[in-house]
């Protein structure tokens, strides 16, 4: 809530990324304001994950610039990414996976594990968990570090619909505690609108931003929001934006 560190955002200016002849991103402009909760939406394989890796600093753009904005700490902002695959270290217990890279903050790790519904499984090996449980461990690990920018690549992809809802609400609650910047990738239109302040739609490759739709409903948001007329209008707008470029192959 009240932390010494301020909020950090990121400004992307005409970002391009190519792998050989394969132009994945081109002239991508995007401003992520400090404290923003942004959803990135787009068809599979357009380069959403590439964009996220650039935001995380794991990959350099081939062209364009990325500048941190807001209350930028001296050593640059910290970013933590939750990957699409859980990437748990199989030789570390669940608890040690969550505490990875922290200096022995095992109590905090245990607390986070309890919050994602895995109390009592601290000593389990990742191989003993189900796919959904592993993803929850990865989510807890990403939140452990309280990064300036939290990047989530389809964080709830492995969860069933019911668990998914409760985790969306939980993530919103965690975010509301200190409102640090979150960028998450999804291809679920409703999830994007339910969670974020702003939904960014990418075009098929080479990806650019083709639409930005604000989602302004007051928080915390109830699941019933999906039937609200404003929500339905925004959803229709997003679906149109996703459909827009005729070059996109059906499905």
């Amino acid at each position: 809530m009240t932390t010494a560190r301020g909020l950090v955002g990121l400004e992307l200016a005409s970002i391009g990324r190519r792998y050989g002849d394969n132009q994945v991103l081109r002239d991508l402009d995007l401003t992520i304001d400090p404290g923003d909760f942004v959803a990135i939406l787009g068809p599979s394989g357009v380069g959403k994950s590439t964009l996220l890796r650039i935001l995380a600093g794991l990959e350099e753009p081939s062209s364009g610039t990325m500048t941190p904005i807001g209350d930028v700490p001296a050593g640059g902002p910290t970013a933590r990414m939750m990957f699409q695959e859980d990437r748990l270290l199989p030789w570390k217990s669940v608890l040690d996976n969550v505490a990875l890279g922290t200096k022995g903050q095992r109590d905090k790790a245990a607390e986070l594990l309890a919050q994602v519904g895995l109390a009592g499984r601290e000593k389990a090996w990742p191989a003993e968990l189900s796919g959904g449980q592993r993803q929850r461990v990865a989510l807890a690990r990403a939140l452990m570090h309280r990064p300036d920018v939290l990047l989530l690549d389809e964080p709830f992809g492995a969860l069933d619909a019911i668990t998914r809802r409760s985790f969306q609400q939980w993530l919103e609650g965690v975010w509301m505690e200190d409102r640090r910047t979150v960028v998450f990738v999804t291809h679920d239109v409703e999830e994007a609108l339910l969670l974020s302040d702003r939904v960014v739609v990418l075009s098929p490759r080479p990806a650019r931003v083709v639409a930005e739709v604000p989602s302004t409903a007051p928080r915390p948001r109830a699941p019933e929001l999906v039937t609200d007329p404003a929500f339905v209008t925004a959803k229709a707008e997003l679906l149109r934006a996703l459909d827009r470029p005729p070059a996109a192959p059906p499905r």
Partner: protein, 279 residues
């Protein structure tokens, strides 16, 4: 296990008893011993009735008698001890060298450029072919035997360490970096444990090579050790001593293998494949 904030998905972690195997009654645990016991009984019968010449292959009872009498004079113990010492020293030195070079080459491009080609060339030499040279250089003392074991152990350990490190999942290394692990931490927490299955495979294989090397080294020029027992038996036409030596080698190899399996099951207990073997 319900939580205030988040509902819990049902856990699906019931470790089954192997794939599609039906539960089996207790007596089947004896099944693997049927054939070895039959072979032993057949051997005893054949060499005591003269079907096999007892001078070539003495019956098991003679072998046991030989062991008993050598034990009572203390010879057997001292021979075993000498052989074990050769293996231990040669293996530890060889494994240490193999691990050191393996880690250096696996982790550093400079070390790879500097050492890998040379080590690959040395590896092409069959180390057993060095026996005459080593005897010429060091005589028939302990040195050539230990050195030969060392040479046999270095390369399996080296090669498996290098490829173990190379095959650590790149994604996990990227994960470690992006979660703020420094180089030392990355090596300790990601690379070493990731390479461990292959390193242990290399060590198990190297132990096998070590015993085989010792058999050769001890039979050629020696005055003590299990190999000497066999040579001595041949010279004195006491074949039960030769058979005893063979049995001792086999037992030692088996024991070494069991020890590494035990270590694997401990160190790799996170891996379901190895955990099964530990039970």
């Amino acid at each position: 296990m319900s939580d205030a904030t988040v509902s819990v998905a049902p856990a699906v972690t019931a470790p089954g008893r192997g794939l599609g195997r039906l539960p089996t009654p207790h007596w089947t645990t004896l099944l693997p011993w049927v054939v070895p016991v039959l072979v032993l009984v057949g051997w005893q019968w054949a060499s005591s009735t003269g079907v096999i010449s007892a001078a070539i292959l003495p019956p098991p009872t003679d072998v046991v008698d030989a062991a008993r009498s050598l034990w009572s004079t203390g010879e057997l113990q001292s021979h075993i001890l000498v052989s074990l010492r050769r293996i231990a020293v040669g293996f530890v030195v060889g494994a240490a060298i193999g691990l050191a070079f393996g880690f250096a080459v696996g982790l550093s491009r400079i070390a790879e450029g500097l050492f890998d080609r040379t080590l690959q060339m040395v590896r092409a030499l069959p180390h057993l072919a060095l026996v005459p040279l080593l005897i010429a250089a060091f005589g028939i003392g302990e040195m050539p035997k230990v050195l030969l074991v060392t040479l046999g152990v270095i390369f399996p350990v080296y090669l498996n360490t290098v490829s173990g490190i190379r095959t650590v999942d790149e994604k996990l290394i990227q994960l470690g970096r992006s979660y703020g692990l420094g180089r030392g931490q990355l090596i300790r927490e990601v690379i070493v444990p990731g390479a461990m299955p292959m390193i242990l495979t290399g060590i198990r294989y190297a132990l096998g090579v070590a015993w085989l090397t010792l058999v050769i080294a001890e039979t050629i020029a020696t005055r003590e050790g299990i190999g000497y027992l066999a040579q001595n038996g041949r010279d004195m036409l006491r074949n039960e001593r030769i058979v005893l030596a063979i049995v001792l080698y086999a037992g030692a190899g088996l024991l070494a293998d069991q020890i590494t399996r035990f270590i694997e099951a401990r160190v790799l207990r996170w891996n379901p494949n190895y955990r099964k073997a530990a039970r």
